[in-house]
């Protein structure tokens, strides 16, 4: 905590500034900011898992979809107040992650990654045939009508901040230490007494909690859900893009990455088909040529020696 | 035949070999002695082309080889039998031998090379279709040496041929090495325990912490106090 105390004033000022944004920023920019913080939140935890714990999830769309659908269903079918539904949806999502941990986290490396993709596909196919939630036709989230973007902005901002702090504290915690040892050499870590399953599961569940909450807020923002888009692989692609382009595993990286992503998204909104193609190509180029990402290059050029995991 | 001059080798920024100079003449057998971490295998890797030296030169039969690739160096006539044998345990004896000729000209006349090697090592002819991973330590060492011979080398480096083998087997291995020398191959033996190696060679070099500290005819080294204490297991 010592290193944070000195920056307390700056952090408080920054937070106050961010919190006041909706007051003096137009509707169009508010949408952009919501996207920015939502993608930031999801990408931060994805990047942490990938870089430090060594687990690359290709199935984050599961939590986006479950978070969204759970919120809509709880709110509309069971009459639970909107924001309580959001929290519950988050918990349900992390519960699902807990269940999935058992088959998936015993798998190593790419086997785990494909396992997450498999699980996501199974759940997508299931929702596609589940009449209760409208199957392929989807669900119109009437309960979210009339929620202003200002009201959505604050949860998004909160998620972004919570995600960043989670990553920071997780990194410096005992759990984080265990995770990093697993990411470095899982066999050695387990030989030293680290409970690899419990560590990985905790991380996975935490990441899924945040991602599910992102999915919930996203559903309120868009007011319409269908399995194809809610469980689309493009969620993972986008999170991956934000994390990799910024600098996977860093905290500031995804901030830059999300900004780039949102800006590019608006620039390319005319050419819908191109955006995923471009994302893929850019990610490829970065992975091969500049694996440390934009932030990595900047901090190297400026010879910044920041404390990890910034 | 092989001449090394003022060789300096680094792993990244870490220097591991300092100013190495040595010569091995055609037909000779030389021994390189050193304990673990002295740099023996590093030197072998540098000769064979796996590690480029920072400064210095390696000349083989008059030609500079320190900037050449491994396949090129093998084609010129230098082959290494790696430390720990490093056979392909998932493949048969015969396949391991065939791969020994992969980088050299003998690939085209593989049957002749196989005949020659089977004559030198009859046990391998018997076991040619057996999986390399299923043989005893001594047999594996024979196979490793045989694989090295498949490229018909003029200069053969044997990195710790007696490692992990029972004394009786070591004697057999050295009998084989003698026969290889009779065939006209120049041999560089690299060993930690120097007894057999020095008894079977013409000259020796002692490598300590990346530097050559003693060199001379093997007979002299066998009698040298320092060598006896450190490398011949005497008190």
């Amino acid at each position: 905590m010592a290193n944070l105390k000195s920056y307390y004033t700056y952090i408080v000022i920054a937070l106050a500034l961010l919190a006041s944004l909706p007051l003096w920023v137009g509707g169009f920019l508010r949408d952009a900011l919501i996207l920015f913080f939502l993608y930031l939140a999801a990408a931060e935890v994805w990047g942490f898992m990938a870089k430090h714990a060594g687990i690359v999830s290709l199935g984050q769309q599961v939590f986006m979809g479950v978070g969204g659908y759970a919120t809509a269903v709880l709110c509309m079918y069971y009459g639970i107040p909107l924001w309580a539904s959001v929290i519950t949806a988050g918990l349900l999502g992390s519960g699902l992650a807990g269940v999935l941990s058992f088959p998936l986290l015993r798998l190593r490396g790419v086997y785990f990654s494909i396992g997450t993709f498999l699980a996501a596909e199974v759940i997508r196919l299931f929702f596609n045939s589940w009449e209760f939630v409208g199957a392929g036709k989807g669900l119109i989230f009437k309960g979210a009508y009339g929620i202003s973007t200002t009201l959505i902005y604050y949860p998004a901002l909160a998620l972004g901040i919570v995600s960043i702090f989670s990553v920071y504290f997780l990194y410096h915690s005992k759990l984080g230490f265990g995770l990093r040892s697993i990411g470095a050499d899982e066999d050695a870590a387990s030989g030293l007494g680290v409970n690899t399953f419990r560590c990985k599961a905790s991380c996975f569940i935490l990441a899924s909690l945040i991602t599910s909450l992102v999915g919930a807020v996203n559903a309120i923002h868009h007011t319409y859900l269908n399995p194809t888009s809610a469980f689309s692989i493009s969620w993972t692609v986008n999170f991956l893009f934000v994390a990799v382009i910024g600098g996977v595993g860093t905290i500031i990286g995804p901030v830059i990455g999300s900004a780039i992503f949102v800006v590019l998204g608006y620039l390319l909104s005319q050419y819908l088909g191109l955006s995923l193609l471009l994302e893929g190509l850019v990610v490829l180029a970065i992975l091969i040529a500049i694996p440390e990402g934009v932030w990595g290059v900047i901090s190297r050029k400026l010879k910044l020696k920041l404390k990890q995991p910034l | 035949m092989l001449e090394i001059n003022s060789l300096n080798v680094f792993y990244g920024d870490l220097q591991v070999l300092w100013d190495i100079s040595l010569k091995v003449d055609k037909g000779e057998t030389a021994t390189l002695i050193g304990s673990n971490g002295a740099g023996k295998t590093t030197l072998c890797k540098t000769i064979i082309g796996a590690l480029p030296p920072k400064t210095g030169s390696i000349t083989f039969m008059g030609k500079r080889i320190d900037k050449l690739s491994i396949p090129d160096i093998i084609r010129l006539g230098i082959t290494i039998v790696p430390e720990g044998r490093r056979l392909f345990g998932n493949m048969s004896v015969r396949e391991n031998l065939e791969l020994g000729a992969y980088a050299s000209e003998t690939r085209k006349k593989i049957d002749d090379a196989l005949e020659w090697v089977f004559n030198l090592f009859p046990v391998l002819r018997e076991r040619q279709n057996q999986l390399a991973g299923c043989m005893s330590g001594g047999e594996q060492q024979m196979l490793a040496i045989a694989r090295g011979l498949m490229s018909k080398p003029k200069f053969l480096i044997l990195d710790e041929p007696s490692l992990g083998l029972a004394p009786k087997i070591v004697t057999k291995v050295y009998e084989v090495i003698e026969r290889i020398r009779d065939e006209g191959v120049t041999v560089l033996l690299v060993e930690q325990y120097a007894g057999h190696a020095l008894e079977n060679s013409d000259k020796g070099f002692v490598l300590e912490n990346g530097k050559i500290v003693i060199e001379g005819p093997s007979e002299k080294l066998l009698k040298d106090e320092r060598v006896r204490k450190a490398y011949l297991g005497e008190e």
């Binding site: 690359v56 498999l118 196919l125 045939s129 190509l281 490829l284 | 093998i74 050299s104 090295g148």
Partner: protein
Amino acid sequence: MDVISFVNLIFNGLLLGGLFALTAFGLSVFAGIMRVINIAHGDFAILAAYLALSTINFLKIDPFLSLLIVAPIMFVIGYLFQKFTINRVLPMGANQPVLVTFALSIVIQNLLLLLFTADARSLITPYLLTNVELFGLNPSPRYAAGFISALFVFAVIFLFFKKTYLGKAMRAVPFDSEAAKMIGIKSDVVYNYAAGLAMLVVAIAGVLLGITFTFYPDTGPMYVLLSFGVVVMGGLGSLKGSLVGGFIMGEALVLGGLFFGSRFQLMFCYLVILIILYIKPQGLFGGKV
């Protein structure tokens, strides 16, 4: 359902399994030699199908003949892909190739979408659409074509690995690349040819898949998941294992269709794969995880 229909179903499941095995061979070769699971594997197969489609439309030839053009193109694509992409990221850690092949998968899908639109496509072979009767059964000619191709490709690859120098090098390098290096085998070069070979096999599988099923730009992921399942069941790097795994997968699909309906057969297959991963991650017949 009567006995004859059931036996017919099982028989066709076996034939279909051959096609799945063929599709998985490419993944198995790639993973067995480079130790990388190519997440874009299915997308490369679909790419081959689209290449075949273009060739057929341009030259008006039979789909099988189009392989004469598509296969070499895919070989070169594989070679270059390995050389400029995978070889570069292999030293960067075990997860880098995962990210790279995933990104490539997205690129291929969206490129195909851009070039060919999202319309359903198929490679037409009228002579394989006829009804065949054999000992009272009705084997699907297209499934049979896939099955026969699988056996043929299996035999050729098997002989290649057993008899040729390059094939033996491809078996030696993953076992001990340091040792291979010491005896003059350049693993990078071996990998390039291995990737080319894998893509060649993928091309054959892709064309046969295009003949047997309709395809879209985003059909790729389904095939990589199924191929992954086949490879996991059979054990990584084992061709024989992939054959057996393929047969099991084929049966799983047809039986899944029988018991749960066509809407759920794919989901059923995925669940089977997940269950096998849970019980025996190293595959039903062993192999390296």
